[in-house]
């Protein structure tokens, strides 16, 4: 069972939480909480087990950003969600050298939230024009920040 294997391997990493998830409710089999600095370690382990990066995104909470990583496996359904809290104005380490898929996802998070990834090879804007000076998915983003029409 991949779920047991992952649970055992992840619990060796000293993470804040490794618990089975309520699949019927959240759609995830394994819920993990990690510090941002532990993410490369977690990612390396997931790749070793043959998981792929399903999605990477962030949520802007009032006190911190939460990075949300979803991993899944092609052969056996086992969705692992990893939450990592990043304080505002702090940087998170990149995992793009482990998962090339994360390259674009991290650029997207940077573009929409302004959250920087340390060690990312090419942290440019990806969706918005390069000259944009705002990050639209920040909760504090107000329409007045919108530049005038192109």
């Amino acid at each position: 069972m991949l779920l047991n294997e992952l649970t055992q391997a992840l619990s060796r990493l000293n993470l804040a939480q490794v618990a089975p998830g309520d699949y019927a409710k959240t759609g995830c089999h394994l819920e993990v909480e990690a510090a941002p600095a532990q993410m490369p370690e977690v990612a390396r382990l997931m790749l070793e087990k043959g998981c792929f990066l399903e999605s990477l995104t962030a949520v802007d909470f009032p006190e911190h950003f939460t990075l949300v990583y979803h991993f899944n496996h092609f052969r056996e359904l086992c969705r692992t969600v990893v939450h990592a809290r990043v304080p505002k104005e702090a940087e998170a380490p990149t995992i793009s050298h482990i998962y090339p898929a994360a390259n674009w996802y991290e650029r997207e998070v940077y573009d929409l939230f302004g959250l920087k990834f340390a060690g990312h090879p090419d942290l440019r804007r990806i969706l918005l024009p390069f000259e944009a000076d705002f990050h639209p998915l920040r909760k504090k983003f107000a329409p007045s920040e919108t530049p005038a029409d192109a």
């Binding site: 759609g27 998981c51 995104t57 052969r75 090339p100 898929a101 674009w104 990806i126 969706l127």
Partner: protein, 370 residues
């Protein structure tokens, strides 16, 4: 970046944002050495419309029409995924008849999407005639879907807890007639495309993706199935009424463009099989769940749901804070991950092959950009 001393060796070619083979508004910056590509850098965002920002400013129901416009070619799968996410948060149970209607319409839409891809892709490769054949067949599906959903393209048909309008016997008979019609056309496609020497020359052995690359880049859909991984969420993570039907997952062996084409081509037949079984077995009963709240206000929590769309896995990550609007809604779109492999597989190919590879990814640019 250019290496020192090699400046004269390379030149930059700009493909897009208005280029017929980019299927919309994708721009690829190519660094060329003669006819060969040294580096390809896709520049996306020319279709960015801010769907995710819009979700945080709209109520749950108001955001539903947006899902028909993220990937307009397989809109119903996106409707399905969003409805499933909200239904999970609200703990609604969808009646069986509604699930069957969802499966039938969603599969019809999948065939329409694949037909359009085959037509447009062969147009990229320089063959105009198949485009007319594909659109002719596609119009028949649109007629059927138009009858029940009320629109030709940007469907907004499913609701939280079911579907708003029942299908009639004419529609079900029409589905069966369409299945017969499409099967009778296979011979035309075989002769026009699948046996065409030019087509085979341009697709076999080009744009090969290994299984290892599939894992590293998080590819989904026909991209991984072409490389031989039978990853199809309809089987791997069964949702809706899919477990009740008997169908196969076509897979390729080498992972080149031809395999990806054949996967999509064969998938149409599997979708027909699902439709026929669903039409035969569709139960009577209600089409809407009981006790759907008028004002949708889910309890705090988060949910990830995924469906198999025509281009790959479409997922929604939804965070609710007990409000009438989603706190955060992330659309995990298949083409975004699928396109991110382009810089790797485009190296050392010709521009003409790049067009073939790009088309085989089956990108819908406004879906990538959201």
């Amino acid at each position: 970046m250019l290496e020192r001393g090699l400046e004269e060796k390379f030149y930059v070619l700009n493909l897009g944002p208005q280029h017929p083979s980019t299927h919309g508004v994708l721009r690829v910056e190519l660094q060329m050495e003669g006819e060969f590509i040294v580096k390809a850098d896709p520049d996306i965002g020319y279709g960015h419309r801010g769907h995710e920002h819009m979700a945080e400013n709209r109520s749950y129901l108001q955001f539903l029409p947006n899902l028909g416009r993220v990937d307009y070619l397989h809109a119903l799968a996106y409707n399905q995924c969003y409805c499933m996410a909200v239904e999970k948060l609200l703990e609604l149970k969808v009646p069986e008849r509604a699930e069957f209607i969802r499966v039938i319409t969603c599969e019809l839409n999948r065939i329409a999407s694949h037909l359009l891809w085959i037509g447009a892709y062969l147009l990229d490769l320089g063959a105009f005639t198949p485009f007319l054949y594909c659109f002719d067949d596609r119009e028949n599906i649109l007629d059927l879907l138009d009858r029940v959903t009320g629109s030709r393209l940007t469907y907004c048909y499913y609701r939280f807890g079911g579907v708003p309008r029942d299908v009639d016997d004419d529609f079900l008979a029409g589905c069966k007639a369409f299945a017969r019609r499409l099967r009778s056309r296979y011979r035309d496609y075989e002769n026009l495309v699948n046996k065409n020497v030019i087509f085979l020359e341009r697709t076999k052995g080009i744009g090969i993706i290994s299984q290892e690359q599939c894992v590293k880049y998080g590819l989904t859909g026909p991209m991984v199935r072409g490389s031989g991984i039978p990853y199809d969420l309809r089987k791997c993570e069964p949702y809706s009424a899919y477990p009740l039907f008997d169908f196969d997952i076509p897979v390729g062996s080498t992972g080149d463009i031809y395999d990806r084409y054949m996967v999509r081509y064969r998938e149409m037949e599997q979708s027909l099989r699902i439709i026929e079984q669903a039409v035969d077995k569709i139960p009577a009963g209600p089409i809407m769940a009981e006790k759907v709240p008028k004002r949708i206000k889910p309890a705090p929590g988060e949910v990830y749901t995924a469906v198999e769309a025509a281009r790959g896995e479409f997922g929604i990550y939804l965070v609710s804070q007990g409000d009438t609007t989603p706190y955060r809604l992330k659309l995990r779109v298949p083409s975004f991950g699928n396109l991110s492999i382009l810089p790797e597989i485009a190296v050392d190919t010709l521009v003409a092959d790049l067009v073939a590879i790009l088309g085989s990814i089956d990108v819908v640019v406004p879906e990538i950009d959201r």
